[in-house]
Symmetry: none
Subunit: 126 residues, 4 copies
DNA sequence: GTGGTCTAGACCACA
DNA sequence: GTGGTCTAGACCACG
């Protein structure tokens, strides 16, 4: 899987990495149990410091997306916790996005059209 | 309309203000043309630096949510641009939220349930 | 509150800081809402790099012990989540400690004597 | 006795082995004088490097849990030192666990409930 | 001035 | 060779 960084983005590099890996897991480009590049390898590949990659991996580990250990390097977790709900933060973000959409004249169906565009891909019961 | 700041939030204060005003417009608590408090008044009301409120207002103005003029102070815009689409940034954020939801085992219908919870409110053709 | 680092310890510096702050909260030396030293101040005080202090604070934040924000610096959280249970990791650690105690000939009452020695102090319903 | 390694654990493998053997002694699954598998055998059984098992055995030997001799291989010690006290490190760990418990709202009796859950098992005067 | 991010380079325990 | 830790020093957004 290829990680691409946006240059002038507000979102910090380590979080960009985290987001792309989560999306990779979600749409099936990263399979459960699959090995991720080592900290150093990924750092070199995308031309950043390895501490930054480390930070991204630590975040993913803490969130339960990956497992890191010295024997096997870094791997996508096999079983994700099926909380079946958004965090309150995520729900707030969604609420904000919906507000913006409504003000811009989007209907519920317009919005759901976009949701379906992304929900269709990869893993997840549709 | 009352603006409440979250204490330890990652979201910077000026953006919290911006978000709440956008949501206020979206759900009808702020009517088109309605007058907003002055920078100074709002700053005092919520106990923060007026520079911060100013920053929020500038952002809102730049995004086309409010207009400022010397005679009438700050007012909610009368006609919003009906782009009927999300900005690319917003769409990316939505894509990320959907990815997280899918990994956590949410179905499309689970997700749309939450969308509807927020789409039901106030302004916007439903 | 004074933080003292053990020099040759196996436990990393950032975790030592974290532990001492948690214990400070627990025994009342740090009150809810109390301001903690800034990242830089604490780093200078104990003679380490500020990134290390930052790491400790991030951990404490993530665990819900403190709140950090740019307006107010770092503060002890007002209301802790009352989960009223140990994490599975902590329970495993306790199990291990008890195993060691038993092999060394300690009775249940010996062990509880030590527990009481520490439970008596500060905050917490006894 | 079966040794099972936790996959993404923070605890290094050699220490996981050490801990499980100590717990095995404590709850009676390993009897005093009982023969332990050879380094090589155990390494093969759990699929790890024999250096790692060796490290665990050396630690256990140094702590006085096992004895090794050339003729009989590795055996659980017959008589453990009855110090009837925890090491200072262990006591510090316990203090930390108690601190965390208190902050999370556990009472002394809640905590002792968990202690009893583990103290009840196997060897040791209860 | 605050926390947050990032770098370049180093060392360590673990396996 | 792996992840984890730490340093010294820098820059940034926020307030």
């Amino acid at each position: 899987m290829i990680i691409t960084l946006q240059d002038g983005s507000e979102v910090p590099v380590f979080k960009q990495i985290r987001n792309q890996i989560v999306m990779g897991i979600s749409d099936g480009r990263l399979a459960p149990g699959e090995k991720l590049p080592t900290v150093r390898a990924l750092a070199e590949e995308i031309g950043i410091n390895s501490m930054t990659v480390n930070k991204a991996y630590q975040l993913l580990k803490q969130e339960g997306y990956i497992i890191t250990d010295r024997r096997n390097g870094v791997r996508v977790k096999e079983n994700f916790e099926q909380t079946k709900g958004l965090t309150t933060e995520s729900e707030q973000e969604l609420a904000r996005l919906i507000s913006e959409a409504k003000v811009k004249g989007m209907t519920r169906d317009d919005f759901i059209g976009i949701v379906d565009k992304y929900f269709g891909k990869g893993r997840g019961k549709v």
